[in-house]
């Protein structure tokens, strides 16, 4: 059938807030998907001209390249403190930090918890893939019991290395945060839910409601040594057992 170019309709496109910079993420990694969802959210809320993104150290260190908005590259773990500085300097800016599990839940523990406890009016995207991706697949604070990594070659032994830390549950104990949720991206249903959650986390900030945290269970096929499809299944079947999906705090 000949294609009717005249009457073609554009139904899907790159969000305006997403640049065409070359991705540095591996095939099957969820970072790219998540980046797109955030850019789309910035478009939908019309906030690109007043948004400042804070990039972490780790696989997302280049996050400042992907968004068509102002951005700051922060020291390892300090993104929530940097976000605090920006937001306090100009409360009209929309400030989000994008942090991995090593960044947010290990080296940045103090900065992460206290930004949440102060109820900073910021949005934090916390990517939990249970591994240090950039440096070569070492154990993360979120690594599962028994998980083989390059620093736990026999599998994570809780007697030696502790248990996977449920950081969002820790944040949820605080009085200040208005929204704490855990989401996943392994199928369309979950992508839709995560998209809604991210929009809500940004909307809270626009409406000056306070601190919002979206934890996203993400796949790292490279360091998990799995095919992308298997990595998705692994999240649904295994990872979710340790990290339950859903809202932990919702004080809308």
């Amino acid at each position: 059938m000949p294609v009717d170019v005249q009457n073609m309709q554009k139904i899907f496109a790159r969000p305006d807030s997403l640049t065409d910079a070359k991705s540095t993420y591996c095939p099957g990694c969820h970072h790219g998907l998540l980046t797109r969802i955030i850019a789309q959210t910035i478009d939908e809320l019309g906030i690109a001209e007043r948004t400042v993104g804070i990039a972490p150290v780790g696989c997302a260190v280049f996050a400042y390249r992907w968004y068509r908005c102002d951005a700051i590259q922060a020291a390892h773990g300090r993104a929530s403190a940097v976000a605090t500085g920006v937001k306090r300097a100009d409360p009209n800016l929309i400030v989000f930090s994008y942090q991995g599990d090593g960044d947010f839940a290990s080296i940045g523990t103090a900065e992460s918890i206290h930004a949440a406890n102060r109820g900073e009016n910021i949005t934090v995207i916390f990517v939990n893939n249970q591994v240090y991706g950039m440096t070569g697949g070492e154990m993360a604070p979120t690594s599962l019991v028994g998980q083989k990594t390059t620093t736990t070659p026999q599998g994570r032994d809780p007697k030696l290395f502790g248990y996977p830390i449920r950081f969002s549950e820790m944040i949820a104990q605080l009085d200040a945060p208005v929204y704490v949720t855990r989401q996943a991206l392994y199928d369309t249903k979950h992508i839709k839910e995560a998209t809604k959650a991210i929009k809500r986390a940004f909307t809270n900030q626009v409406e000056k409601k306070g601190y919002s945290l979206v934890e996203v269970l993400a796949a790292c096929p490279t360091n998990w040594k799995m095919k992308p499809i298997d990595a998705n299944r692994h999240i649904a079947k295994v990872v979710e057992k340790t990290y339950q999906l859903g809202d932990l705090v919702n004080r809308g």
Partner: protein, 351 residues
Amino acid sequence: MGERLLLRGNEVIAEAAIRAGCQCYFAYPITPQAELLQHMAVNMPRLGRTFVQAESELAAINMVYGAASAGVRTMTSSSSPGISLKQEGISYLAGSSLPAVIVNIMRGGPGLGDIAPSQCDYFQATKGGGHGDYHMIVLAPSTVPEAGQLTMLAFELADRYRTPVMLLADGMLGQMMEPVELPKPIEISSLPKKEWATDGAKGRNPNIVLSFDLDPEVLKQMNLILQKRYRQIEAEEVRYEETATGDADIAIVAYGTVARIAKTVVKMARAEGIKLGLFRPITLWPFPGQALRKLSEKIAIVLTVEMSAGQMWEDVRLAIAEQAETPFYGEMGGVIPTPQRILSEVKKHAG
């Protein structure tokens, strides 16, 4: 100029920062700079400005990093062990060309040390402190009023050169009270707009603040920009003061609290017929090496006096080389040298 007040050094620095247009202050409690934090806690919110007691020194310096990125004048303050914790952030500020003011009210070290006055962080302040090839401008007041003036200058230089600037004082200057005429407040709205700031990409391309590039050639270029700036600072911002050096046979080199004591020693020595002068670096980086070298061409003995084991002494010897004798006298651990003790050192060398 404004009213004359009797104030502590810490309070004067805080008040001068406010008058310099500091809009965001972040810090963590530590002695002997606590009054600075407390003054800011009372006065910043009153003016509708930001005061945050951070969870740590690391957090405080990274909040400074964020506020500086957003384009406002910002400051943190601490004392020696806390300044060690800030080194990561200071390196990032330097690497990202961000203006900020850091106050160090030095105390005895190493480790937890004590809370008495010291000058043992000279190396850390002037030679980099954190990782990477960088410097920051280091200003060393020797009186309480000068602490106020140099705080104002610190903000000005930070903005002019897009660099962190350290005000390096000690527990004596922080705690001591003196009559001060506070500097006139600047008009914040009159400050030039920072075109590079991440304050929302409205009607312009996005601005990015970073100290990072994986391509060594690009990072080399970023480093060369910093080095060019440092050479410019060395050429334009060296500050020092000479007292009674015109006819001197012997000179003391000292900064901060020790320089103030040395001024008394100059008078005592001259009363005894010893022609003693004083060379006081005000900028510790850039160090006034050329001026000191020039002075050493006419003075045979240049005695360095510090509250450290001889940290500035290295820069003095580097500047003077073999041109003059360069003896040293120092105290450590929070011990303050008395004028009598310094005079006896002078006499030892003056013959």
